[in-house]
Amino acid sequence: MSKNIVLKTEQGEEIPVADSAAPLKNKKNEVIGCVVVFRDITKEREVDKAKTEFVSLASHQLRTPLSSINWYAEMLIDEDAGKLNKQQKEYLAEIYKGNQRMVGLVNALLDVSRLEMGTFSIEPEKTSFTKLIEEQIKEQEPSAKKKKIEISEKIEKDLPEINIDPKLVGMIIQNLLSNAIKYTPAGGKIDIKLLKKEDQFEFIVSDNGMGIPKKQQDKLFSKMFRADNVRKTDTEGTGLGLYIIKSILDNTGGKITYKSEQNKGTEFHVFIPISGMKKKKGTKELG
């Protein structure tokens, strides 16, 4: 059943409930009925909301000291306060990198809390999907080159513009591409495709990287999930990227599917209706 079931009292008050059901069978093992149990989850919802709001507030407050570390490290690295020796430069570069990672994590946590509170906005505008992909490839090419990973793109020609929120779709492309780079060993290959299929756009990112273990695939889109094989090799991932992608698509009428085999690679397919996204007013934007 849906996650958002409510029971209405005679007075019209709505109570959020969780449900579980079990079949009733006769001696011949035929199903003759069903027992459904509803449990009042008002308190759980309140606690969950308070937790999400706290994460949002804490993340926001963290941005000021993070900006301070960022800017002072930048000035030291630029030698605004005097010459540095090689070791000092290396140490500062680590401080800067560590701080950038923290900024990324705070931004991801803010995105998650906005998605969970439902306060994010959807601002569709006529957008070239192709251009969004090319921008992301350009941005991430340096990290792919560092690992000698080849990115090839196959984008259908003359695709029409589509009414989507460029920020949200940009986040989807960015997360899928950076995951593919992160989890593909040096010398690997990433293929990017964009095609129009009947009433939807299909965006595909495939790699010949580490893949996701079969027994963990059902948890792939859960919040903070990181597969056992990637935990061993990469300590930087947050486990929020795919959760954010799935939440965005669930909220905007899109869909994501995948195929993956450990040590062979992963393929993600994102479907976005050609009709685009519907505008949603919110107090916050993602990304």
């Binding site: 000021t64 960022n70 002072y72 000035m75 931004n107 107090t283 934007e285």
Partner: protein, 135 residues
């Protein structure tokens, strides 16, 4: 920017460590810097100094008024309304960004996502084109 040309920037930022970092980086890049932590202080600078070329503006400030209130005052004053405004804040809600841009801010940056160098370089580009237009 021409070598000896110095632009005057009014930095309106309430957090002292951030204000110091912005001031130092701007001065390294040959700008003259005035600082304020509240709308009141910022207005006083504008009244006292008549050659402020650009404003660097945060949203939350000391006192009851925000950067948005300051921008409204700036744009409603015939002497100040042409001064370019760069909003640099960590509270980037869609409505806020839209309000700043509608009211006439030139650009909006999320502090933690940008290097000082990047923002300053954007300011230089705008200042240069403003000067070109004046010629």
């Amino acid at each position: 920017m021409e070598k000896d040309q110095k632009y005057t920037v009014l930095v309106v930022e309430d957090e002292i460590p951030l204000q110091n970092a912005i001031r130092d980086k701007l001065e390294t890049n040959n700008f003259l810097v005035l600082t304020a932590r509240s709308v009141e202080q910022a207005e006083k600078h504008l009244q006292d100094v008549d050659n402020i070329d650009v404003v660097w503006l945060d949203h939350y400030l000391i006192g009851g008024e925000t950067g948005l209130d300051f921008l409204v005052k700036l744009k409603n004053n015939k002497n100040w309304k042409k001064i370019p405004v760069f909003v640099v804040s960590n509270t980037a809600t869609t409505t806020k960004v839209a309000s700043y841009l509608t009211l006439g801010a030139d650009k909006y940056y999320t502090k933690s996502d940008y290097r000082l160098e990047q923002i300053i370089s954007d300011i230089e580009v705008i200042m240069k084109s403003e000067k070109e237009n004046e010629k």
